[in-house]
């Protein structure tokens, strides 16, 4: 026990639990679905979670600071639309400038959210509920001259083929570029959250805003930057969204914000701040994506059961989570207390001056 508490933190145990659940689901469905253990299953699940994983990063970032962003789906939609229209008229734009365009637009929308929330002191849920509607309306206005759609056939060739670009390929097993981008984003943010002072401050603000303020953290700026980065990530999400689906309607990205909340929560991110990791949110997205795909594949389950089962799963995940995590934290706290006691004892015995 002592050994475990020393090498793992509660969050990491939580991540292992999510991973374990994914393995169980895969083994369970693999036992009776035909052709389940193929590279193709990997391709399907990995590509279907690429976008949601990126958006879930944005949600995780703001959730850690005790905030929420309900406008993410609308930002994804607007960025996808904006880029789609630009690409329809300017075939000379390449993949990298296109990504930068989408990220810039997303950042601008995140900037508006951040200004209102951090400096205007309007609660995040109210602000983003409002901007969710406003950004969606912006899509309607922006797309009106185009007939409200972006069509794949008007995009440049690279944009039409991007979804099938792969990093490496082994028979059926195909590791796509968009999946690579998503994983890269997850790794970067895991590193930021763990090692950069900025990341640690996000946790500090989320777990105890009063203490963080007294400690002199510029809380407003930290939250503001979180929304800025969240917007940028949603912009990247919009980029991937456009390239995966090619055809867009004004509803593009509707509901992504709730999917992102669900992924983050299932992955152990506390929506009320202070805890959660990037890898956890990614695993949460993977868990939901795996289950969703597997349920679609299951012939015995009618189309209509999928949502009922998915809703129940989210609830159970959170319920077991809260039961297990409370116990884990207690265990760790005890172990830590024991350890500091030991340390203190050894210290007092070794250096009597202190």
């Amino acid at each position: 026990m002592k050994f475990i508490t020393r090498i793992l933190r509660p969050e990491q145990v939580r991540e292992l639990v999510t991973l374990f659940l994914i393995v169980i689901i895969v083994l369970g469905f693999g036992a009776f679905l035909k052709d389940y253990y193929t590279g193709r299953t990997f391709v399907r699940i990995s590509t279907s979670i690429a976008i949601i994983a990126v958006v879930a990063m944005a949600q995780t970032l703001v959730a850690i600071t005790r905030n929420i962003d309900l406008s993410l789906g609308s930002i994804v939609g607007f960025c996808a639309f904006f880029l789609g229209v630009q690409l329809s008229y300017h075939h000379e734009i390449g993949p990298v400038p296109a990504a930068l365009i989408a990220i810039a637009v997303g950042t601008a929308m995140g900037l508006i959210n951040g200004l209102i929330i951090a400096y205007g002191r309007v609660p995040a849920i109210i602000t983003t509920l409002g901007t969710m509607a406003i950004y969606r309306t912006a899509i309607v206005f922006y797309s009106a001259p185009e007939g409200g759609i972006v069509s794949a056939h008007r995009l440049p060739l690279w944009a039409r083929q991007f979804a099938s670009w792969s990093i490496f390929k082994m028979g059926d097993l195909d590791f796509r570029v968009m999946v690579g981008i998503a994983i890269l984003v997850v790794i970067i943010f895991q590193l930021i959250l763990t090692y950069l002072p900025y990341g640690r401050r996000l946790y500090a603000i989320g777990s105890n805003p009063e203490a963080a303020r007294i400690a002199g953290f510029p809380a407003q700026r930290i939250v503001f930057i979180a929304y800025l980065i969240g917007g940028a990530l949603a912009g990247l999400g919009g980029y991937l969204f456009l390239l995966q689906y090619g055809n867009l309607m004004v509803l593009a990205g509707v509901g992504l914000e709730f999917d992102a909340v669900a992924a983050a929560v299932v992955g152990g991110v506390n929506i009320f701040g202070g805890t959660g990791t990037a890898i956890g949110a990614f695993l949460g997205a993977t868990l939901i994506g795996t289950l969703d795909y597997s349920l679609r594949r299951w012939p015995a389950i009618s189309e209509f059961w999928r949502n009922a089962i998915l809703g129940l799963l989210i609830l159970l995940a959170v319920a077991t989570d809260s039961a297990i995590m409370a116990r884990l934290r207690l265990m760790w706290a005890r172990a830590a207390a024991a350890m500091t006691m030991e340390l203190a004892e050894s210290k007092t015995s070794s250096s009597p001056q202190a």
Binding site: R121, V122, L129, T131, T137, V261, I271, F272, I314
Partner: protein
Amino acid sequence: MQSSRLASLRRMQFLRSWEAILFFVFLAILLYNATRVPAYLTVGNQINVFYLYAEKIIVALIMTFIIINGEIDLSVASVMGLCAGVLGRLLEMGVRGEYAIAAALVTGLLCGLWNGLWIAYARLSSLIVTLAGMIMFRGLVWVMVEDRSITNFPAWINHLGQDAILGPFPLSLIIFFVLLIFAYIVLHHSAFGRYVYVIGNNREVARFSGVKVQQIKLILFATSGLISALAGVLYAARLGAMRSSTAEGFELEIITMVLLGGVNIFGGSGSLIGVLLSILTVLNLRNGMSLANITLQQQTGVIGALLIFSVLVPNLAGRVRAELNRRRFARLAAEQTAPAERKEVKAESK
């Protein structure tokens, strides 16, 4: 002593300014509609203003309680759909209308209890529980009704849903006004209402002072389920038919109306008067814009902007005032700067 009076004074000012802003916005809309929009001032249209949103504003009443209590219920629209589905399926099977309606209401109550048990006793976050409920209950409607449209309700159900019952008023509006009065009395003039506020302010304090927190939360969510069921039945009766997607997406509009009414999303403050003002504002705004042929999506955008500005403007005004005060205080004696300092702290924690 002095500071607490100052605080209450400040709160009154804040409330007054919030409701004042809403009231003036409402007046402006009313004036604009009355002078610029033809057909706005007819009796038929005035009824329509409410009639088209009757179900949503009925649910907004119970949502006010839940948000003041510091929780949220995202599952209301799915419960509406599920209960409309139960009603439709039972009518289709030839069950008598009264029993079908009763069964629909019981279904809503059960959904509410399901949410409430997880929230009150398992102490899970209501945002997550009801998000799961939103997905799950909607899933159950799909399972039950699949790809069909259920219609051919008994004539009396259609009559209750679609025709004027009392003077020009249809049943749904009568129910709304009765529930509004009832809700007002319960929230603002009863022990239960006080507990709702106390819990919303601070759950732990409420528990230590002997308030049955879990019981009250359970009652609130069960009532939310029941009211949503009622709204679902009324909606089905108004349309004379139901499908799996009935009432989809209503939850955000309902929550928006409550928040626009000045109810604090973190619980503890807000009033039904504010919510009523917000309902009047939103409904008249939408009606006026509809008659001016502004699309529904643009209306939603306008209401989203209104939601943000209704909080942002008082906040900014407050900060400007605070800044002016501080400068004035700074010119006065040093001991009088204390309240201004405290004001800063208060604003920071918001």
